[in-house]
């Protein structure tokens, strides 16, 4: 049996868990290749016009995989941690995809909802495996291995690697002496090199070390998020605000870049909160970069160059 997992959206958070679980059960797992122009075009033409860019990209990946897999794995991710929610567009993803009017293999979409108890994710995976004919014992074993794999991945991010570095097996090159920039965004924007127009590569080429929210321990994010006047229930926004707050308070970076995709609902609020915080502290240069379907990088390059000039100018004065 061959199961396809689109390389888009929360894949960038959870691919070690998802891949390992199905591989442990002996399934052949096929991921789509990194986003390219063809995939983007496919997604844009298939998705509803109102969807945000990352959702359109997801469609493209699913359609790309469709002829190569017997099943598509598209979990309905409701909540990753107790007390939080994932963006509603992602909760509705399997339904949107099924009704895109395209020929697709059956979509497997267990509901992953951490609000239903500490073992909710595990039980959802085991139940799904049961439908495909795997016993509970076998599935439990696969789950344990998958969770360990996910933990190893998280630990690597904690060492200052990006998901791209991990998947490409990049060696540690000593960047610790370099000036650091905090780049905040959802991993599916930032670590999709095509969508982000190579942002991380560009910053590293200019001699900066890139820090992302995933590199901070969950404990720090939780502490910072607790400072907000009201608990933020979007886990992805919490990550961004937590990391932003931490560096605004502690320093250690020379600037902050927030990358959002045009039409993202949660980011329209999270971005505003972050920008206000940045202004209140007033010490670090802050740039809001908006991504959309354009493959032309002119607008982004201009803003980025101006921002880095500003960072260097401030550093010199």
């Amino acid at each position: 049996m061959r199961i396809g997992i689109p390389r888009a959206l929360l894949y960038y958070h959870y691919y070690p868990l998802w891949l390992t679980f199905w591989q442990q059960l002996g399934l052949q797992v096929k991921s789509s290749p990194p986003t390219n122009k063809e995939i983007l075009n496919q997604g844009v033409s298939a998705a509803v016009a109102e969807a945000c860019l990352p959702v359109k990209v997801f469609y493209g990946h699913a359609l790309h995989l469709a002829p190569q897999a017997e099943f598509l794995f598209v979990p309905r991710l409701v909540s990753a941690e107790p007390g939080t929610y994932i963006c509603p567009k992602l909760m509705g993803l399997p339904d949107m995809l099924r009704h895109a009017g395209k020929k697709l293999p059956p979509v497997i979409s267990p509901t992953l909802n951490a609000r239903c108890g500490p073992r909710a994710w595990e039980l959802a995976f085991i139940r799904t495996a049961a439908v495909l004919g795997f016993g509970a014992r076998q599935a439990e074993r696969a789950w344990k291995v998958a969770v360990a794999e996910q933990a190893r991945y998280t630990a690597k991010l904690g060492e200052g690697k990006t998901p791209l570095d991990v998947s490409e097996g990049a060696e540690d090159d000593d960047r610790s002496s370099r000036k650091a920039l905090l780049v905040l965004s959802h991993p599916y924007n930032l670590f999709d090199d095509f969508v982000s127009l190579g942002l991380i590569r560009r910053l590293r080429a200019r001699g900066y070390r890139v820090i992302t929210a995933e590199m901070l321990p969950g404990r720090v994010i939780a502490e910072e998020a607790a400072r907000l006047p009201k608990a933020l229930f979007w886990s992805l926004g919490r990550l961004i605000l937590g990391a932003g707050g931490y560096y605004l308070r502690s320093g250690g970076v020379v600037g902050i870049i927030h990358v959002v995709s045009f039409g993202c609902g949660p980011d329209s609020l999270v971005g505003e909160l972050l920008e206000r915080q940045a202004r209140r502290f007033g010490k670090l240069p802050f740039l809001l970069l908006t991504l959309d379907e354009h493959t032309g990088d002119g607008g982004m390059v201009t803003r980025l160059e101006a921002f880095l000039d500003m960072v260097e100018w401030r550093g010199a004065s």
Binding site: K37, F262, P285, G299, T302, A306, M310
Partner: protein, 324 residues
């Protein structure tokens, strides 16, 4: 005498400024790009060549604007800078204590916040071009008012009407509506200026800490109606510098002067460039699924540069080696 040349190649206008050693303007040019940046740069160079005082040599060249890379390749630039930095440098040269720069050009608008001579924040318009020069041009033409008289007309208004400024399409239909109701054209024109300023302050300048002194730059700054509308909305005097329309080019020239300081040579190819034959071609690279659109520029048959690829397969090719 030595002089420094700045080029600002934008979507609507191509501007050139020639500075002397003390940073004073020798000549400045404002040309329409009209979709052909290569021709605009060549025309500009030819005109500067005519105006340049005898015995003056070009010691440095800087380019900026959305066509900065193309212009730099054509003329041979010593520095290539983004528009924000170029405008900030020019503004600081004009008024060292400046704290806010409002800039409205043909297709885009920006705000730059400075403190103690350093840029601390900036923004550019994103997806909406409402409130930029091209929109004003279009509305002036529709009202039958020459764009040069637009501002003076707005100043004569006694009761500016309220126009919806959130979107160019809405503004236009709102204006037509007000015309049909019989409002005087000067009140509509003044209302439009106020609407555009509101739109700018709510979008581009959203949340920015605007403090005086304020400089208003870009082609639209020539419009006295827009300047008054800004003053009314902000409650501060707004200064329009004498070379407001070419501040980007001025900044690029100043940056060129800095870039060649302590150096004896410039990359400038000479004024002959205005008579060169330039050929630009583009093709879709078939190397991978990204199908990047690669642009190639040749001058007098010689390959000068390539760009547009993501991986560097084309742009990294040594131009000298490839240009046989």
């Amino acid at each position: 005498m030595q002089a420094y040349l700045g080029l600002d190649v934008g979507s609507v206008s191509t501007n050139l400024v020639l500075l002397d050693e003390r940073g004073e303007v020798i000549s400045s040019l404002y040309l329409r790009t009209q979709g052909n940046p290569i021709r605009a740069v060549q025309e500009g160079l030819a005109q500067v060549e005519k105006e340049i005082p005898a015995g003056t040599s070009i010691a440095g060249v800087g380019t900026t604007g959305s066509g900065r890379q193309l212009a730099a390749t054509m003329v041979g630039a010593d520095t290539v800078k983004n528009e924000i930095t170029a405008h900030a440098v020019a503004a600081l040269n004009e008024l060292p204590e400046v704290q806010t720069v409002l800039e409205i050009g043909g297709q885009d608008s920006k705000i730059i916040i400075l403190r103690q001579g350093v840029v601390v924040d900036f923004a550019m318009n994103t997806v909406c071009a409402a409130g930029t020069g091209s929109f004003l041009d279009r509305q002036a033409a529709r009202l039958g008012v020459p764009i040069e008289e637009f501002g003076a007309l707005a100043e004569r208004a006694e009761n500016p009407v309220r126009i919806a400024g959130r979107c160019a399409v809405f503004a236009e239909s709102d204006m037509i509506h007000k015309q049909q109701l019989g409002y005087p054209v000067e009140d509509i024109v003044a209302g439009l200026c106020e609407a555009l300023v509101r739109n700018y302050l709510n979008n581009v300048a959203k949340g920015k800490d605007i403090a005086a002194p304020i400089l208003f730059q870009g082609g639209v700054a020539a419009n006295i109606g827009m300047r008054r509308a800004f003053e009314k909305a902000l409650g501060f005097p707004v200064i329009v510098p004498p070379y407001h329309a070419v501040m980007g080019a001025l900044g690029a020239a100043l940056l060129a002067k800095r870039a060649v300081a302590g150096r004896r040579s410039t990359h400038f190819r000479g004024f002959d460039v205005s008579r060169w034959h330039f050929a630009v071609s583009s093709r879709s690279c078939g190397g991978c699924a990204n199908q990047c659109e690669v642009v190639e520029i040749r001058g007098e048959g010689k390959l000068l540069a390539r760009w547009g690829d993501r991986c560097g397969r084309w742009s990294n090719v040594s131009v000298e080696a490839a240009g046989r």
